[in-house]
Every structure is written in C-alpha cells, then in structure tokens.
Symmetry: C3
Subunit: 357 residues, 3 copies
Amino acid sequence: MPLRFLQSSLLPPSFPHNNFIDSPKKQDRKLLLCVQDSRTQLLECNNNNNNPKFCRPDYPDQFSCVPISKILRKPIQEEEKVRQEDGDDDLWLVMKDEAQSDVNREPILSNYYFSSILSHNVIETALAHYLSVKLSDSSLPSGTLYELFMSVLSEDQEIIRAVKDDLRAVKERDPACISYVQCFLNFKGFLACQSHRIAHKLWSQDRKVLAFMIQNRVSEVFASDIHPGAKIGRGILLDHATGVVIGETAVIGNNVSILHNVTLGGTGKVSGDRHPKIGDGVLIGAGTCVLGNVRIGEGAKIGAGSVVLRDVPARTTAVGNPAKLIGGKENPVKLDKIPGLTMDHTLHINEWSDYVI
Amino acid sequence: MPLRFLQSSLLPPSFPHNNFIDSPKKQDRKLLLCVQDSRTQLLECNNNNNNPKFCRPDYPDQFSCVPISKILRKPIQEEEKVRQEDGDDDLWLVMKDEAQSDVNREPILSNYYFSSILSHNVIETALAHYLSVKLSDSSLPSGTLYELFMSVLSEDQEIIRAVKDDLRAVKERDPACISYVQCFLNFKGFLACQSHRIAHKLWSQDRKVLAFMIQNRVSEVFASDIHPGAKIGRGILLDHATGVVIGETAVIGNNVSILHNVTLGGTGKVSGDRHPKIGDGVLIGAGTCVLGNVRIGEGAKIGAGSVVLRDVPARTTAVGNPAKLIGGKENPVKLDKIPGLTMDHTLHINEWSDYVI
Amino acid sequence: MPLRFLQSSLLPPSFPHNNFIDSPKKQDRKLLLCVQDSRTQLLECNNNNNNPKFCRPDYPDQFSCVPISKILRKPIQEEEKVRQEDGDDDLWLVMKDEAQSDVNREPILSNYYFSSILSHNVIETALAHYLSVKLSDSSLPSGTLYELFMSVLSEDQEIIRAVKDDLRAVKERDPACISYVQCFLNFKGFLACQSHRIAHKLWSQDRKVLAFMIQNRVSEVFASDIHPGAKIGRGILLDHATGVVIGETAVIGNNVSILHNVTLGGTGKVSGDRHPKIGDGVLIGAGTCVLGNVRIGEGAKIGAGSVVLRDVPARTTAVGNPAKLIGGKENPVKLDKIPGLTMDHTLHINEWSDYVI
C-alpha cells in the first residue's frame, strides 16, 4: 500500500498546527498563550469547563490559556525590550534551518523532525511538545503534560531566555555538539535542565504536586534528579547528565558546567538551607560530590571524582577525596580563565604533586 | 468538543474497578487474590485455559489466581495477627486522603491519581498497577506484568509489610519527602526496591527467567540494578537511586539508607558468596563502592565517594579511597546515633584530619 | 471471554514473520536483506516510493532493502569463510533452544519471547527488532528504527560477528549471566554496545544525524552515553552499564571489561584526539574516570573509584584518586592473568599498602 506508506512516513503530519505566524514579539500577547493543534480535540475548553484555571472563556476554541491576571503581571514593553537586547529572535529560525538541512540528508527522519521542530513557529511550543512526548507514559498522557508546560512557558519569558542561553552554552562549550538542533533533540542534560526550569516555576507558585511529578519523570527518563526548589542560573551545561543529583536548597550561578554523576547534596535529615552554592563560571568534573551548605567560589574548578565538604575559594582548583586545593591551602594557584567556559578538566595534573603514574 | 474533553480529562476513568470494599483483613482471603478490572477482558481465565498455573477454575470470571496450595501455606490467623500488630491497616487510607488532597489542588492530575491511587482499595493492587505501567514496554504489556505482580503480592503479605515500612522510612528520613503518596508515585528508589522484592520472591521460587526480566526492566526504567538474589530487609531508603548496583549474594539489614551510585559489588568471576553484608541501620553515602564479601557492621557510616574493600566495625565511620576509619584503625570514633536513621553525612568532617580546604 | 484471552496471551502472535528459513549463510544474500512482517503495512515500498535509498524496486512487497552496490561490496565467499571459522552459525540456534526452554517454564512470557527471539531465523532481525522496540518512543516509531537498523546490519557482517563475540564474553565473564538469551534480552550494557556498533557505522558513513539520534536514545533508555565516533573492539562486557560515558575519540581494544559509571572522558573544549585509548584485555572498575588522551596498556587493571589522568603500563594495576600503580611507579607489580577476562577486582587489596581498615 504505497499511498499509505507515503502518508505515514514522508508527508508532513497534520500535527501540530498552531496560530503563530511570526516571531512572538510581533504577536498579540493573548495569542501567544493559546495554541490550536491536533490535541485541540482532547484539550479544548469552553465556558462550561470546570477547570477554569487553564481556560479563558473568551477563547472558546483554544486551550492552555493562563489567567489574564498573570499575563498582565509584567508590562509587555519590558519583555520586548529584553528580547531585543538578547537578539534571540533569530535563534529559532537558525534551528529550523538546521532541522531542514538534517531532513534533507535523512528523509527517514522527516516525521520526527516535523513534529519536533519544523511544525513549530516558536521555540515555546516545540519545547513543550518535545518534553511532553519524552516525559509522558501510559498513565501520564503527553496532552496533559503539554497543556501544563505551555501554561508555564507562556507566562514566563525568563524561562525561554534561559533556554536559549543554555542552547548557546552547550553549542559553544561542548566540542561534541555540532548544532543547536542536535542539543535540543539529543542532549538529555539540556532537556532535564529545561524541565527543571518549568518545575521550579511551579514550585515557586506553591504547586508542589506538579513540580514533584515533573522531577520524578525527569529522574526516570533523563536520569537527572533535580529538586524543583533548586535555583539554577542561565548558560548551564549539564554534560551527559546521567546520575546528576541536585538538592532542594542548592543555588547554581550563571555559565556553570556540570558533568555527569555530580551530586550537590545535603547533610542529612536537617531541614533548611543545607545544599551547596555554586558561583558563576564554575566547572565540576564527573563523579564529584559536593555536600552541605558550602560555597564554591566563582570561576573555581573541581576535579573529577572529588569529594568536597568545605568552601572552595574563587578561581582555585580543588581535587581529590577529600578535596584539597592545588597549590595548597595557604597559597592556592589562581586560575586566570573561567573553567565553566573553557571546560578544561586536566590542566592541574602537573601541579598535583603526589600524582605518580 | 467540550463534552469529550470532560469525559477524557476530568471524569474518573472506569479503570480499574475491583472487588475490594474494605481493608483486606476483613475480606475473604480468596477474594484478595482475584481482581476484576478493565483488564479482565484481556486476562480473564476459565476452565479451558491452558495456563493453569495462573488460574483457578472455580473463579471463571476473574484472573490472576494463584494455586490454592500456595494460598493456604500460611494460616490466615497468623497473617492477621501480624497485620494488627503492625497497625498498618490505616496507611493506605492515609495515602488515599493525601491523594484526594493533591487532586483537589491539581485537577489536571485527576486521571493519573485515580488510576494510580484513588481507584484502589488496597495497596497491593495499586502497587501492582503502578509498577506494571512503569515497567511495561511495547513488547511487555502492562497486563502481563500486572498479572505477574499480583500473583506474588497476593500470596506474600511479608512483602506488603515491607512496602509499608519502606514508605514510613522514606517519609521519616528524607526531608524532601512531604507525603506517603509522593514517595509512592515519585521515588524511583522506592519503586525499584519494591520491584526487587517481587523479583526476589520469584527468584526464591526458582523462577529465574521472570526474576531476571524484572531486574532488567527496573535497571532500564529506574536505573537501579539489583540482582534478584540479593536479600534486602525492611525500612529501606534508596535515595535518588540512579546508578545503584547490588550483587547476587549481597545482604542488606533493616533500616538501611543507601544513596545513589552506590555499588555493593562482587570480586570477579568467582561464584558463590562474593558480595557485601550490610548491617542494620547503616548509611552509605553517594558514589561509594563496597566490593567483595565484606561486612559493614550495624550502625556504621560510609562517607560519600568511598571505596571499601574490608570489614567496617559496627558504629564506626569509614571515609576515603581506600576507606579509612575516622579516629584510626586502633581506636575508631564510635557513633552514638544510628546513621541509617539520622542520614547525617557530614558530622565526621572535623575529625577527618587531612581535610585541608 | 476466554477465547480472546487465549489469543492474546498464549498463542504465538503473527508478528513478525519473515522469509528466513535457515541460517543466513545458506540463503540468497538478497533475501537476507528483506524482511516481511506485520510492519509491512507501514513500511512497504514500491516503485513510486520517493525514498529510493531504503527500497529496491524488484522487491515490491518487502522493505528495508539496502542498495545493491553496498550489498556486493564484500565478496560473499570471504564473509562465509569468516563465519565458518568463527563457528557462530550455531549460536542463534542455541539461543532459540534457550528461549524455548524459558517459555516452557514461563508460558506467561510466550508472546514476549516469540516476538523477541523465537520468530526470528537469524540474529540480525531479532537484534534490529528488539533494539527498535527498546529505543522507540511516540515520536520515533519502532518501524523507522527497525528499517534503519536492518539497513546497517544487513550490509556489515563485521557487526554481527562482534555481537556474537560480546554474547560469549558476557556469558563467560559474568557469573550472574546464565544464558545467551538472558544477556540478549536483559543486559542493557550489551544492548547499548550493539546500538553503538550501528551508530558508529552510520558515523563512519558521515550520517551523523542518525548516529547522534541513536546515541541519545541509548543514553536515555540504557543510561550509557557512547559517542558514535568511539571505536570499540570485540568481546566487550559493559557490566550494569548505568552512567557509562565514552567520548568521541576513545578507542577500546578487544576483550575489555568496563563496569558501570566509568568515564572515558575528554579534556575540555579542545577538539581533536582527546580521549583515552584502552588496550586489549583491560578491566576498569566501577565509578572510575579516565580522562584525556592517555593510554591504558593491554592487560592493565584500574581499581574501582579511581581517577586516571596519565598512561598506565601494560599488565599493571592502578588504584586511587589520583591513581597510583600497585608496587610503585618504578617497579610496579605485573599481572600474570588478563584482568579483562578474569574480572578480578580485588586481588590487589593486600598490596595496597595504606589500606588500614
């Protein structure tokens, strides 16, 4: 049945269509918050809907509408100003070009790229769609998750700016990353981080049940367990990401790079502020545990396999189990570059005095 | 189509209905072993069924019936006595209250909570259902797994008592755990541990093929690889759980807390008793390897990132790679609290003499 | 409805039927490349198909046909010669016997074993089928992946020989492995390694988009993140496999055993040859990081939890963080057995001088 084959494998699917024609800043803000696609059948809301939180009565044929009060919390001009400063309007267009180029090379992936990238006019819907597919299972349908993710992404442009900063960070720092689209589709650390941004927003709105549900699905699917209370900056690279654990009161600055199997852990049953504080530009190597409410100063580097239980001064390097400062406690060697950006894991070898192999 | 939306998202689904009205101890034991739900269509068994192991001919319209010989192995009075002593009849009722409260806050999760918690009158069917959903894939349908899990849980009340002890342990010890339901739905370490209890029961019945299948699916879905031969006590906390590996001849006591990326590993190709023995009340920090048939005495604590290749005396603290005792081999500092319960990872820092940062 | 139950649970499913009657070497090579099964409806190709790369017009009712040019790249006689030398014609028959024995013990798994093992006359289709089921999700259908995997496995008999060597390696070295079928179905390290072999082939053909897609799905599903550029020999055991990370320019020899949470990592943003080279017969313990373009000599052993940043001579043992040679740098103890084969993790304990517990 060749026609059927053509339909199912090669022609673009009808999902999802949406209302965005141009970039969001040119749009009516109200439209940005409503998406019409093939899920509409399932999620459509109307005046009789008994879940008013997610619907606005004046858009009877659309869904995922957040309350007007929240939409209007920030003046639109301010949002637009930041967008223009960031100059990130073009990033999604670049990504769609990358995606088209990939599909031209590998037509077998047409459907996958169409539903994941090419059918979306803005990164918001693409991210909500892709995460909802990844994090759904047979008891948590992707439609429910999509609705939830869009309700957050629509109302908080800060998250989308952080998403774009993370895309740039991965592409710039990871030599194995060849395009933004590769990062978006294939880097589970990137996807775990963006899921966390959504979960953290829900956490800050005291919607803990939803936040914990996302945390758990991310832990199962991407093997990164990030408590929704953790505060994470922009320009973050979670490289490989398997086994990452970040606790509730951890705070991570901007331009931080964290390898797999890194733990930012607590100190037992004590409640309260009990997790590490990671400064801007820090690099933490694979398999490292940082435990307790300790401060890793900005631009510091922690070698792979270290166990850090005390503060590490800014721009120094700590290695070992227990971790010691390269150059000694009194006069540690100071780094002149930002390790979170250079991703240099090994320049300290020659100075690690007892390294004998 | 608003009606359709209401039907699919907001009204409770018809799945699963079962025969339990009250708590199991008030029930006919035979009824406990048979569940009628929407899967009945698929799994129903009758006199003509050629898989008699899983069916009893006198319950033609029900499934998951274990052989009568197994049901009657333990006198019912004895089971009831222990249940009353444990006082755990109420735990499931508490959990349903918690679930109802969550749904009232987040109606978007109605279906998920209904199928996972609220539709179940006993924890047995809820656990079998939730694990079967998590561990199924397109080649292993959830119906097959549900049937298998119920056949084990129905005949072994020891497992259910351990499940409840684990729920209490997580809630008590983990400051990030706010309710029993959160643990049940969202803690992959809890779910991995309960899956292991079922796999271990099958292993002890020499049903190794099924036991290995469960081990593998747990390793894929929850990233914890626990050999079905391992013996695990009650009141266990597997915190975060990613990367946990526990070998075939490992034995873990009661009230033990194990962090993520902990290995209780063997010593090569040698068969026989080759894995660690962990005493009651032990705490093992993140990323630690304990290798070989060594004994970790009760109430001992192993710091994060340690490599332990020899016995650790009771109530002492071992840290480092290779691990050494805090206070020294001859006169180690003795702990006066149970670290598996206090979850204190870091009190040894001041005594770790060569810690120089 | 007992009949329905019988149909769905106990009778063999109709999927997949294929054209293989005997072992592949007795077959027309063209037939080896075409499989007819229940997916035909979806993937069927004909003369009008606009994706000619994956179809041959002279097999209108079959799919997954690779170009004839590629099929004929290697003379068939040469392939057959190696197959006969390897004596691996029998392995699949042994595995089908094992599978039948398992099903006789556990009829509840009939469907699962039939679709995964018993319905396949050659290991190629079984492997492509099983991996496609494991790595699919709702945006990446298993049919697409099966087509892709078969296109690679059909044209490269080297991969299948490596698959069989890996099966033998796991069965021989891992005391927890009781049959080839258990390894095939349940060892995620084995499945991750075979997925990598396919991804690496695509990488070497400059089909990077497909190769990265496989890498990512393997990282999500099996928690092993292996860059498709990495070169991996035969007879490989990735034991437990959670958290394994292997970089782009890593090279791994034959008969190597690597435990979980092992990193063969790079040295930062530098491009070019930046990852470890692992010699034949090496054993790397759990949680170890080997970083940079360092050489681990053949037959060397790296203890669990080590951090290795420099070369390790052949047949020596390195342990610790940072790793040191057992016996000292000047006169290290030489191993007389191959640790990658003996899997001996702990014989060095007595010689680890500062081990004080």
